[in-house]
Each structure stands twice: as C-alpha cells, then as structure tokens.
C-alpha cells in the first residue's frame, strides 16, 4: 500500500476540495485541470510510452465534443449520451487514420496527425447542414452547479491514470515501450508493431474523445475553432505531457496543473493583478502592458516549449531529482 499512499491522500483531498473551495471560478479552473489530466494522459500513452508523437489530439477532442453536441442538437437526446459515444466515435476516426499512417515509418504519422486535425476542422466548418459551421453548437447545460461536472471530470481523470497504470504493468505496456525503443527489435521478438501502435492510438483517441464530450456538456457551446484548435488543444496536450514528464504516470497530471495555471495567469493578466496595478498607476504604460500580457499566452507557450525541451527534457516529474539538486545547490 505504501506506493499508493500519496496518490490516495491526493485523491481524498481532491474529493473534498470543491466542498471547501466554493468559489465557482476556482472550481471552473479545477475542472479544466482535470480535463487536461485526461487528455495529457492519453497523449502520454501514445507518445510517451509508445513513441508516436501526435499533433492530432484536437481531431479526437473535437469529434468527441461534436458527437455529444450533435446528439443533442439533431436528435434531441441528452448530451450525456455523448460521454458514452464520444470516445467510441473518436476511435472510429482514429482507426482508418492509423491504418493508413502506421505502416509507414518516420515522419508520416506526425504529419498525418497534424493534417487530420486540420481536415476535421475544415469538415466541421464546411458541413453546415450537420454542424452549423462557424456558428457552432449551443446546448442547455444540465446542471447549474459546477460540482457534478467536477466529480465527473475527476472520475475521468482518475480513470485515465488507472488505465495507463494497468497498461504499463501488462504485456501491452511492455509492447508499447519496446516499440518506442526500437521498432526493428520489437518486430524481431514477435511484436506486431502496427497492431500495437493502433491499440495505443485508439486508447489515446478514446480518452481524448470522452474528454471532448465532457467539455461539450460542461461548456454548453462549441465551434470548430475552439475544439479543433491546433494551439489550444493539440499543442496544449503535448505541452501538458512534456512539461509534466513524458513516459511517467503522474507527469501529465502535474503538467495539467502547471499549464492551466499558466494559461490562466496570462488570460486574466496575472489574475487581475496587472489590472489593479494599472488602475493604481492611472493607465498609460501599464494599460499597454496589460493588453500585451493578456495576448501573450501563445508566445509564452512557444517559449515554454523551447525552454522545457532544452532544460527539462523529461519534464517536472522525470527530472525531479535534477530540479531538487539545482535548488539545494542554490
């Protein structure tokens, strides 16, 4: 039980957290963190464990979200059906894609996944009779309180971590990591590399699609630019995993916390601190600064990509020993 102690304590804390912190704004941020834990964990399974870098998380996220939205919009079903089906539909998209891209080695998969996200966005934009195009889909949210969404997101995040943990301790995990380390060697010990890469991709698609469906239910509104965004979904998924630590179980969870916090610092211009400063100083220079800072989150993410890959190649979790040493020295 020792190795489970810290995660269990954390889980207990997370269960009571929204009862203590009742501020809707922070509950909202926590829900976002939990959504990103799920998405980042899924990406980590595919890239961190299986070695297949995907730029296509948005494709699966968006498909999951649209599945939920369209079920409600066209068929009048509850969008919660999307939670059950969103992941499955994402897998349906992932399957033919992997079937085309995986037998080809090298850059094809990464490029293909980037193209997949773009294609899905174009489809969602142009197929107006189905998706309402740029107008987007608006549905009625089921709950006014954020608590139900919080607990569903928590269940999903915990579920995805448990899934990855189970995978890494099984034949599947050994096969994934073997493929990451050397595809020729993997094939030579009898691993059907295409099949297992496919399984990994489908798990990634399922988790991401389910997260997308939850996003639809929670936010009540989606449009192609939000859910198929390259920067805000696909790159964010990558950042969550690499900042936290690829190929580590809890890396994406740590990464999600850091990234959502960072995104929010920029979006709210330091949680309003800069705005307060501006008011105190009477506008002018600080207004300009505030304006730039609130626009700068993509720039910050870009710089973060560069800095993390150079200095923390294994993420906060993977390089924890090094981080600790650096601080002790300093």
């Amino acid at each position: 039980m020792r190795e489970h102690r810290i995660p269990l304590i954390l889980l207990a804390l997370l269960l009571v957290l929204p009862l203590v912190v009742t501020e809707p704004y922070f509950q909202h941020l926590m829900i976002l963190v939990l959504l990103w834990v799920t998405i980042g964990t899924g990406w980590n399974l595919l890239a961190g464990y299986t070695g297949q870098v995907s730029f296509g998380a948005a494709a699966f996220f968006g498909v999951g979200a649209y599945t939920a939205g369209l079920l409600s919009h066209h068929l009048g079903l509850s969008a919660w059906w999307g939670m059950a089906l969103g992941g499955a539909v994402a897998v349906l998209i992932a399957f033919p894609f992997g079937w085309i891209a995986f037998p080809l080695r090298g850059a094809y998969f990464a490029l293909g996944s980037l193209a997949l996200g773009e294609v899905m966005r174009q489809v969602a934009t142009s197929w107006e009779s189905l998706t309402e195009g740029m107008v987007g889909i608006l549905i009625m949210q089921t709950f006014i309180s954020k608590l139900p969404y919080y607990y569903i997101a928590l269940a999903l995040a915990v579920g995805s971590i448990l899934l990855v943990q189970a995978v890494t301790r099984s034949k599947l995990g050994y096969y994934f990591v073997s493929i990451r380390e050397d595809q020729d060697a993997a094939a030579s010990i009898g691993i059907n590399t295409t099949k297992y890469k496919m399984i990994s991709l489908c798990m990634h698609a399922f988790l991401t699609g389910t997260a997308g469906a939850l996003y639809m239910n929670y936010m009540g509104f989606i449009d192609p630019h939000v859910v198929f965004s390259l920067h805000d979904i696909s790159i964010m998924a990558i950042l969550v995993a690499i900042v936290g630590g690829v190929g580590t179980l809890y890396g994406p969870a740590v990464g999600a916390l850091i990234m959502v916090a960072l995104q929010e610092v920029f979006r709210s211009a330091g949680f309003g601190a800069l705005q307060a400063l501006t008011d105190a100083m009477g506008g002018g220079f600080m207004t300009v600064v505030t304006k730039y800072v609130s626009q700068a989150h993509v720039l910050a993410f870009g710089i973060l990509v560069v800095v993390v890959i150079m200095n923390l190649p294994n993420g906060v979790v993977g390089d924890w020993a090094r981080i600790k040493r650096a601080f002790r020295r300093g």
Partner: protein, 240 residues
Amino acid sequence: MAILELHGVCKNFGGLRAVDNVSFAVEEGEIFGLIGPNGSGKTTTFNLISHVFPVTCGKVMFKGQDITGLKTFQICALGVGRTFQVVKPLKRMTVLDNVIASAFLRHGSMKQARAQAEKWLDFCGLTPYAGHLARGLSIASRKRLEITRAMATEPTLLLLDETAAGLNPGELDEAIALILKIRKSGVTIVIVEHIMKVIMSISDRIHCINHGQTIAEGTPQEVARDSKVIEAYLGHGGGH
C-alpha cells in the same frame, strides 16, 4: 527433414543485386555457418529470411511452410529467433524488462513472462545484470542480451548475426560455449560470422557466398580447402 530452405533467393537494391540466386537447406539440430567477405550479402540474406525487407525473387521455407510473404513478427511467432549485427537493445528498459518483453510472445501473464525471462537470463548468464539499463551494458553483454531476448521467444531456429564481433578472447570462448549450449538444448542455429576461429570450430556445415552468389558449401574442412573460397578471402594469387 530440412528446417529452413532457401530456394533461389535474390534481392535487388535499386540496380544492385545484393543477393543472387542463393539456395541452401539447414538440417534440424545443426549449426550452419554462413560466411563470406565484407559486403558479400550475409546479413542481407538474414534480413530476407526474417523479412526485414521482401525478396526480389525466390522462396524461403521454414519447416516445409512457405514464409516468404510473412511479416517479421509472424516469422518470429512461427519459431525463428534472430539477433542483429548492429545490436538493438531496448535501451531505456532494464535487461530483465528486455527479456520479459520477448517472453510475452509465448506467455500471456506478467507472472509467467517474468519467470521465463529470469530462466533465460540465468541460461545465458546475464542474471547479475538483470536490473541494469540495457544502454549501460558492455558490448559483450549487449550481444549476449540479443541472444537472450531471441531465446526468450522460444525459437526452434536461431539466426545469429556476428555475435562474436568485437569480443576479446576470453569473451569469445564464453560466446562459443553459449552457442553450443543453445544447440544442445535442441535449437537449430544459422550463424553469420567473420571470426574464422569461431565459425570453423562450431559449424557442422558452412555455406560461403561472395558478391551475393554461392561459391561453396560443405564441412568446415572442405570449405577451408576450396580454391574459390581462398580466392574470395585472399584475393587473386598472382598466377593468372
């Protein structure tokens, strides 16, 4: 009965014919040596057997079954294990995990695979290194890990690609002892080797190729006396 047969196998790379109409049959239980000067097509022949790339023409039979069109992993599942000339350890996994990964081919559960892996580590003498990361091993241990991993797939035919290259004399003797031990356990072995001491001392029969073509086949003594083999290795003697 022959366990492995090559019938007129050839391979073109662009306009270059790397393997040209090679045929041989390996009998069950023997150690079959494949020799030839640098670039003569030995490793390419191995890669054709385990289908790292497809043959241009010809046929490969394993236990009477045509395996020419099968994929690498299917050939492995049928019972053909192999090692690589340029070793390919799963670098960021421990030695034990490397072997567990390949033991999973025959044993589905984690517990069984682990027990099997430990058995094969012991068989090949790698137990002291079980917890080490594969990338930190010495060259001799890496070569040994290749063999261990191949053995853990429980092959009936093992293809060894230059397992002795780069070893010092002491390690060489250990490698020879291991190969003989594997044969004794009932596994047929095809071995590509540069070091004549090794190949001559352990092979039952030897097949020699040059420029992708067969030039001789026979017992080590016969091959060693063959004028074409001598010519291929030493070049043309002055009297033409």
